[in-house]
């Protein structure tokens, strides 16, 4: 059955470029590289800045509220805790992107089902779980010992990140099977 041709009104819209696998992997690789360097540099600069603030400045913390509030110098323990927490968070996040860069590199050469990617994905899952638990524990400690700073986190906050970790582990096992099939294909003459 022939349908009548609709008029185009003389308007020509530019055709959007079709993204192929190489384009997506290039964009992903570039994004991961930028994120890695930003996080890596931040992991060095931010803790250093926090310590420098204590050394060269006079950071204070307000204890209590209203008329009973007192201003005390920020203890070294708090400063070091913040510096270590910031370094751990940023360094682990940088590690995740470093591993992603490795995976994207194998994707660019058309060989993503490499056994190393199985290990990388498991490491990403472990790092993600560590960051999530660390942030949760940090928020819990701050809420517990620094009154009024923030609300205590709930265990329900861990549900969605847990799903993400499970998904990463499942994808890692899919890649393991892919690596096995790849090996089979290599040994098929």
């Amino acid at each position: 059955m022939r349908f009548p041709k609709t008029t185009s009104l003389g308007i020509r819209t530019p055709s959007l470029p079709r993204l192929n696998l190489v384009s997506i992997s290039s964009v992903a690789g570039t994004a991961c590289a930028v994120a890695f360097w930003v996080l890596a540099i931040g992991a060095v600069l931010i803790p250093s800045a926090v310590v420098a603030l204590k050394v060269f400045g006079t950071p204070v913390v307000t204890a209590g509220t209203g008329d009973e509030a007192i201003v005390i110098p920020l203890p070294w323990a708090y400063v070091l805790l913040v510096a270590i927490a910031a370094f751990a968070y940023l360094a682990t996040s940088a590690l995740i992107f470093r591993l992603l860069i490795g995976i994207v590199a194998t994707l660019r050469v058309g060989d993503p089902f490499h056994p190393q990617n199985v290990r990388r994905l498991h490491q990403i899952g472990a790092a993600f779980a560590t960051v999530t638990l660390g942030v949760w524990a940090g928020q819990f400690l701050v809420a517990r010992f620094v009154r009024g700073a923030m609300a205590a986190p709930s265990l329900f906050d861990l549900i969605t990140p847990s799903f993400a970790v499970v998904i990463i582990v499942v994808i890692a096992e899919v890649f393991r099977e892919g690596a096995r099939l790849r090996r089979e294909s290599e040994l098929t003459i």
Partner: protein
């Protein structure tokens, strides 16, 4: 793997080298070595057809099955079924 490829014997009988066979069949020398040493997991019919054509033999001359225990690292499950089969 219980399936053996008798490439050595037939090459000797035909007085042909592995390199020459690889050139004739269109398979790399490395892959043919994998086949010869029994490390191959599968062979395509097209490759088997090319080998039989160049060596002037039948598939049964090239492939023999030796009964015995499976090699470790086999893909079969404990019941002896290949993955995805019953």
């Amino acid at each position: 793997m219980a399936i053996r490829v008798q490439l050595d014997r037939i090459l000797l009988e035909r007085r042909m080298s592995l390199t020459e066979l690889a050139d004739r069949v269109g398979v790399t020398l490395a892959n043919l070595s994998i086949l010869k040493t029994g490390k191959a997991r599968a062979i395509r019919f097209t490759t088997l057809d090319a080998l039989c054509r160049e060596l002037n033999c039948q598939p049964g001359d090239l492939l023999t099955q030796t009964p015995g225990p499976q090699d470790p690292g086999s893909d079969e499950d404990p019941d002896g079924n290949a993955p995805g089969t019953t």
